[in-house]
């Protein structure tokens, strides 16, 4: 589990990660209540933050690739699958821990039922996986980290806007509304909206399944062994 341990060491060494991991999420919790859907704005925007954090996290793999660490790992007694698995496990643990902190903070600030927060936690955890997969797949398309990240922030904001995380999807043209269904952020928005309107839990099955399929899809694309 050396790779696993080193993810933590490397990630928490950077000062920007403390900002991303603690200050931003906790600040988000204190954002005011949104008008639509009736849920604190922080809970709604947290999805975007998850995307950004997972991009920051998975950049470790990209840096490894750029610095030819992956090349050396290629001859080390560790398979690429193990390397990937330990990395993803560490990222997943960081993100899920963060989700827990945010949900617990939220439960202190806003008075809601236990089920509400449990569901919120589950939704965030599913979306964390999707976000990790997405950034992994995104990096696998590029050779240079700077190119990848400079386009990525624009893509994430676009995904958030089209996917209906920033505003209701219904105000957009019909064709865009349909195309948005092919984005993972749409399903996060759906899930959060359902939660805000206290829809029955069976309604959540489709969005969660979609997020799961998305994360599998992205992982399959992103797990390709690229050494250079």
């Amino acid at each position: 589990m050396t790779v696993f341990n080193f993810v933590f060491k490397r990630y928490f060494k950077r000062p920007s990660s403390i900002f991303f991991l603690l200050i931003l999420p906790i600040a988000l919790v204190f954002l005011p209540m949104g008008e639509w859907p009736p849920i604190p704005l922080g809970f709604q925007y947290y999805g975007i933050l998850l995307l950004f954090i997972s991009v920051k996290l998975t950049s470790i793999i990209m840096i490894d690739r750029e610095n030819k660490v992956l090349l050396r790992i290629g001859v080390a007694p560790i398979t690429h699958f193990q390397y990937l698995l330990e990395n993803l496990l560490a990222y997943g643990i960081i993100l899920i821990g963060l989700n827990m902190i945010v949900v617990i903070m939220g439960s202190i600030v806003y008075r809601e039922s236990f089920n509400y927060y449990l569901l919120l936690f589950i939704i965030y955890s599913f979306f964390s996986m999707t976000a990790l997969g997405f950034s992994l797949a995104w990096y696998s398309l590029f050779q240079n980290k700077d190119t990848a990240t400079s386009i990525l922030s624009g893509v994430i904001m676009l995904m958030a806007m089209v996917g209906g995380v920033l505003w209701p999807i219904q105000i957009m043209p019909v064709i865009l509304q349909r195309l948005a269904m092919l984005l993972p952020t749409y399903w996060l928005g759906q899930s959060i909206t359902f939660l805000a309107f206290r829809a029955p839990i069976s309604e959540q099955i489709i969005p969660l399944t979609m997020m799961l399929i998305f994360s599998i899809l992205f992982l399959i694309v992103g797990s390709r062994r690229k050494i250079i």
């Binding site: 349909r178 092919l182 399944t209 979609m210 399929i213 599998i216 899809l217 390709r224």
Partner: protein, 370 residues
């Protein structure tokens, strides 16, 4: 073909399958947008995309196509046009040559009597594209196999050639040694014995001569006979050893004398006796080839041949001032290529220089390992 170093997209059968998949998924996507279908359509679409990506990354067994088809069928009640999605598994099944895995669902759709004309057309089209790609891959594999086999044979032949060439050198050296042995034996057996006899007889004659013995005259005649006899044997032996064709530098001169197209200048530097026999067998054809080429292609006004020998190297340079016909000088001729290989086999090289006329240089090392 290396899959990792080819950056540009090549039009191969493997890429064609991927293009087919992308095209199919795009068309399905368009159909779904046009249909105003429900969210179920997205699930089906995403599922198919996932399965396709899986097939692109891993070698999924053919029975997984059944899963695709079952999911497609299960979606039909929610999205009528989901039956079009079955075209994807049909395409995949035909493209990998396992047509049998696309039959069950076709039969099911037929039984349910949901066959519309466009659906049939789409299925046939998908199957046809799959079949074309399938035949393409089969063809490519066949030729790839053939190519590999030919390549292997060529390597084996080259290996054999190399071995033959080195064997050639060894044989030349061995024959030289055995020839030397034979000469030594012959000299020892015939001339040596006669000469020793003559020397002994001469010593006896000296004694008799001093004593003024009448036998001295007899002895003198005997010595004379022996000496003339050994001279004869020596001449015969030398005659037997000497080949009919001139060897070594004489042979080179013979060859150059045979060239009458234009004035020819043959210069020799160094001691040509240093050149081992097996090198002559390369220098000779090399000179021949060079002169033939000049005769054939170049309009030369003079030819200069230099043979340079030092204890470690032999350098044969053939220069002519004629301009060669460009088309005939592209690359080396067959003859030169063979000679170059033989030269390389003993660590030498043959090179050419085309500035100001044409110069062919053959450099061979003299390996002193006797």
């Amino acid at each position: 073909m290396n899959r990792y170093d080819s950056k540009s997209l090549q039009w191969t059968n493997k890429n064609a399958i991927n293009f087919g998949r992308i095209l199919g998924l795009l068309l399905l996507c368009l159909l779904w947008i046009r249909d105003n279908g429900s969210q179920i359509g997205v699930i089906l679409l995403l599922f198919l995309i996932t399965m396709t990506v899986c097939r692109w990354r891993f070698n999924l067994p053919p029975w997984t196509l059944l899963i695709d088809q079952i999911v497609c069928l299960a979606m039909i009640p929610f999205w009528a046009n989901a039956s079009f999605a079955v075209a994807m598994p049909i395409f995949e099944a035909v493209a990998i040559g396992k047509i049998i895995f696309s039959l069950p669902v076709l039969a099911l759709i037929l039984i349910n009597n949901q066959m519309s004309f466009p659906l049939v057309v789409v299925f046939i089209q998908a199957g046809f594209i799959g079949w074309v790609i399938r035949s393409w891959s089969l063809e490519t594999n066949k030729y790839q196999k053939e190519l590999n086999q030919q390549r292997r044979e060529r390597y084996e032949q080259e290996e054999l050639k190399r071995e033959l060439l080195s064997a050639n050198i060894k044989v030349a050296r061995m024959s030289e040694l055995s020839e030397r042995n034979r000469i030594a034996q012959e000299l020892h057996d015939s001339v040596g014995h006669e000469l020793t006899g003559a020397v002994l007889a001469l010593q006896a004659f000296e004694k008799l001569w001093h004593e003024e013995d009448p036998l001295a005259k007899d002895m003198f005649l005997k010595v004379q006979e022996r000496l003339s006899n050994s001279a004869l044997i020596l001449r015969e032996t030398v005659h037997n050893i000497k080949p009919i064709n001139g060897a070594g530098v004489d042979r080179l001169k013979e060859i150059s004398d045979g060239f009458t197209d234009c004035p020819l200048n043959f210069k020799i530097y160094g001691d040509t006796s240093l050149i081992p026999v097996y090198l002559w067998s390369i220098l000779e054809p090399c000179l021949k080839e060079a002169l033939t080429n000049i005769m054939r292609h170049a309009k030369a006004t003079k030819v200069e041949i230099e043979l340079d020998v030092n204890p470690h190297l032999v350098r044969l340079s053939v220069y002519n001032d004629g301009v060669e016909d460009i088309s005939s000088t592209m690359g080396m001729g067959m003859g030169l290529r063979n000679i170059r290989q033989r030269a390389k086999a003993i660590g030498g090289n043959i090179s050419s220089d085309m500035t100001h006329g044409f110069r062919l240089v053959c450099v061979l090392p003299i390996l002193d390992n006797h």
